[in-house]
């Protein structure tokens, strides 16, 4: 049975690795609902948080294929009840409706929205929460003149384990990670003579 599953992947920070991981999904025609990639607590190690709507057995096989990649350290996959997760959203709302309509202000306050930027013409609010909470707030702001909206990918923490943190420290002690090597020549065409 399909359900929402969050896959957590610890990797080296290498150019091209995002593609190597992404194609494992696209090859099986599995849609990625949400993808967050960011540095982990340790320098040089990245953490991917990937959300899919899939059968757990399929995700188990997929997770093994991801973990098989040379630059991947560790993969976890969890159902929603095994994790604590949040998404962040930004809402750009015309300043005048806030001033004119009390219910908008109340709505934002009830949802724990925090003003990030206040300008004469618009105000940008931020909320953090689960997908349904954000969805319901947009639905209610939409008829009131929402100008722009953006939502982040999911970030999630796994409830059960002590986490991968101690393992990561061990990795780092055993052997430092490879240096990130990017292209230092880009944009230097004119300095370099070629045939």
């Amino acid at each position: 049975m399909k359900s929402e599953i969050t896959i957590t992947v610890y990797t080296e920070n290498q150019v091209g690795l995002l593609n190597r991981i992404a194609i494992l999904f696209s090859r099986r025609k599995i849609n990625i609902e949400s993808l967050n990639t960011s540095p982990s607590e340790l320098e040089g190690i990245h953490r991917f948080t990937i959300v899919v709507f899939e059968d757990e057995e399929i995700v188990r096989k997929l997770a093994r294929q991801i973990e098989k990649q040379v630059d991947v350290l560790k993969v976890y996959f969890n159902t929603n009840d095994e994790i604590i997760w949040q998404e962040m959203a930004l809402y750009k709302v015309p300043a005048d409706i806030i001033a004119e309509k009390v219910k908008v202000e109340r709505l934002l306050r009830e949802n724990g929205a925090r003003a990030v930027v206040i300008r004469k013409d618009y105000i940008v609010f931020e909320t953090t929460g689960q997908r349904e909470e954000i969805d319901s707030l947009i639905a209610r702001l939409q008829p009131l003149g929402l100008i722009e909206f953006v939502r982040s990918a999911r970030v999630a923490i796994i409830k059960a384990s002590a986490g991968f943190h101690s393992k990561l420290l061990e990795f780092e002690q055993q052997q430092p990670g490879p240096m990130l090597s990017d292209n230092s020549y880009l944009g230097r065409n004119e300095e370099i003579f070629t045939m």
Binding site: E12, R27, V70, D71, L73, G177, S181, Y185, R188, T194
Partner: protein, 581 residues
């Protein structure tokens, strides 16, 4: 004249080397002797460096990059060493794709080095620029782009380590031209033996070993099936030790053929769609199925819901991703079978399973009567593919390496070739790449020290990479080519006959005069059309030093049987077309 004191102020000159030279240094440190490649603009500095190393590195100039990579595969599969390929950027690199995909699915260790445009030109659609890293990502075990000379050594060290360890596979290193040209202070080459994020093989778990031993000891009808993992792990002796102690009959996938001598008393034949009837049928009667270094490919299992449902399944594999991928395992034995097989052997009790083995023999004699004898020893009519292989067996006595292409003749070779030696069946198993055998045979012939190498190829496959006759001409590699010529794309034709009501859609293929073509390349050859000519022609072929081509006309519309029809379970294997109704 300078004083001694002023001399001290001049720094000692730093010795420099180019990135291209670093590649050579790495190849020599990795004990590479042969490189298969084709030069071009973006890899010229590497070829320039190679020019000074021709005493230690033999470069085989192919006629197309696909030929280079298949040759490297054949070389790697026979020698057990990592095959090395050079290709230039753009089209040179894209021509490697088929070989990379083939090597990945068949777990062949390769290091491919491609030239790339200057680093500052990346992404500008420069001449012969293509995004090789992203194109090859799904078909490589690992790949990496290098844009500076100092990175070449460490990247190559990683490449060789990753290609050959764990479950082997192809690795590609894309080196920009500036990195090849760049001069840097002389660097030593340090081999890689550890990558923190990479675990070549899982830790062997004793609890699983114990569970597996208990299952095997209790089994009444145990059956062992093995694949290429045995060859890759170098565990041929360990496999024999296990089956001889436990008395378990053993069958093989085409990738595993050769790990167990054909004549071994517990060898019960080939698995899969065109395998032997006995191992397919009895897969569904065994009570314990021990799978060693094989991946339950769909051509081996047929319909999964009708595959060994009654059996407890023990799966030995080095790649944890293979466990439960296709067939649900009762006991997973993770690890290199070189290590795990002896652990099982130690724990199991010595037994024999005479009556169970007898069932295999009964089914085999039935197949022998209905299929094999007619195929191998026809009294009249046109020559058959099987009789060519059978007569070859008579001469080689199993002391040969057989390379096959893809299609009907491949099944015939895998079914009937008698092989005494490990690493002696070279074929494109997983990808099914037509055009594989001529270049792979060339690589195999360069790798084989004692055994003759015979490439058996269909008239379709040979024409896909026939340009490599040029490479054969230039290297004079002692490859013997047998073309089994039925003037059809035989396997497709067979399917059209069996499943598409004889609608022969574009399978009628014409051929050049292969003997004349070989002669044009300076390669000797003969055409065989009569049964009476066959043995003499094979004998001559094997006696010749250097390459030789035999064009054998065989029956046009022969079918390969037995067959597990598409969508059927393995025990529904049929021995003839009449049984399919």
């Amino acid at each position: 004249m300078q004083s001694a004191t002023s001399n001290q102020n001049i720094p000692a000159p730093v010795e420099l080397m180019s990135g291209g030279e670093m590649v050579m240094k790495a190849l020599i440190a990795e004990n590479v002797q042969h490189i298969f490649g084709y030069p071009g603009g973006a890899i010229m500095p590497i070829y320039d460096a190679l020019f000074d190393y021709t005493d230690r590195l033999q470069h085989i100039l192919v006629r197309h990059e696909q030929g280079a990579i298949h040759a490297a595969q054949g070389y790697a599969r026979v020698s057990g060493k990592t095959g090395v390929v050079f290709a230039t950027s753009g089209p040179g690199a894209t021509n490697l794709i088929t070989g990379l995909a083939d090597a990945l699915i068949d777990s062949t260790p390769l290091v491919c080095i491609t030239g790339q445009v200057f680093a500052h030109l990346l992404g500008t659609d420069a001449f012969q620029e293509t995004d090789v890293i992203n194109i090859t990502t799904p078909v490589t075990k690992w790949n990496c782009q290098v844009t500076e000379a100092a990175e070449i050594g460490p990247a190559l060290a990683k490449a060789f380590y990753i290609a050959a360890t764990g479950r082997p596979g192809p690795v590609l290193l894309d080196i920009t031209k500036n990195a090849q040209l760049e001069k840097m202070p002389v660097q030593s080459y340090e081999k890689c033996n550890k990558i923190r994020s990479y675990r070549p093989q899982p830790i062997v778990r004793t609890d699983y070993i114990e569970q597996a031993i208990a299952l095997i000891n209790q089994a009444q009808r145990p059956f062992l099936i093995f694949g290429q993992g045995v060859l890759l792990g170098g565990a041929e002796k360990e496999l024999i030790a296990l089956i001889e102690k436990s008395g378990i009959p053993a069958a093989w996938t085409i990738m595993g053929k050769g790990a167990l001598p054909t004549d071994h008393f517990l060898n019960v034949g080939m698995l899969g769609m065109h395998g032997n009837a006995a191992p397919n049928i009895l897969t569904n009667e065994c009570d314990v199925l021990v799978a060693v270094g094989m991946r339950f490919d769909d051509r081996v299992t047929g319909r999964l819901d009708k595959y060994a449902r009654q059996a407890a399944i023990i799966h030995l594999d080095i790649d944890p991703a293979e466990i439960d991928k296709n067939v649900k395992t009762t006991v997973p034995v993770w690890g290199n079978c070189k290590e795990t097989l002896p652990l099982l052997t130690k724990g199991i009790i010595k037994r024999s399973h005479e009556r169970w083995l007898e069932k295999f023999h009964t089914l085999l004699s039935e197949e022998d009567k209905v299929v094999i004898q007619n195929e191998q020893n026809p009294k009249s009519g046109p020559l058959t593919m099987a009789e060519v292989v059978a007569r070859l067996n008579d001469i080689t006595k199993g002391d040969a390496i057989l390379v096959s292409d893809v299609g009907q003749h491949q099944m015939v070779v895998c079914r009937y070739a008698r092989l005494n030696h490990t690493r002696s069946n070279i074929t494109s198993g997983g990808l099914g790449t037509m055009g594989f055998a001529l270049p792979a045979g060339l690589g195999a012939a360069l790798a084989s020290r004692q055994l003759p190498v015979v490439a058996v190829i269909g008239d379709g496959g040979i024409q896909m990479t026939i340009q490599e006759l040029g490479t054969l001409m230039q290297t004079q590699a002692p490859l013997k080519i047998i073309i089994l010529n039925n003037a059809y794309l035989g396997m497709v034709r067979q399917w059209q006959e069996l499943f598409h009501e004889n609608r022969y859609s574009f399978v009628n293929i014409s051929s050049p005069d292969y003997v004349a073509l070989a002669a044009a390349y300076g390669i000797a050859g003969t055409k065989v059309t009569e049964r009476s000519e066959l043995v003499d022609a094979l004998t001559t072929m094997l006696a010749v030093n250097g390459p030789y081509l035999l064009d054998v006309s065989v029956a046009k519309e022969d079918n390969i049987f037995p067959m597990v029809p598409q969508g059927k379970g393995v025990s529904e294997i049929v021995l003839s077309k009449d049984d399919m109704k």
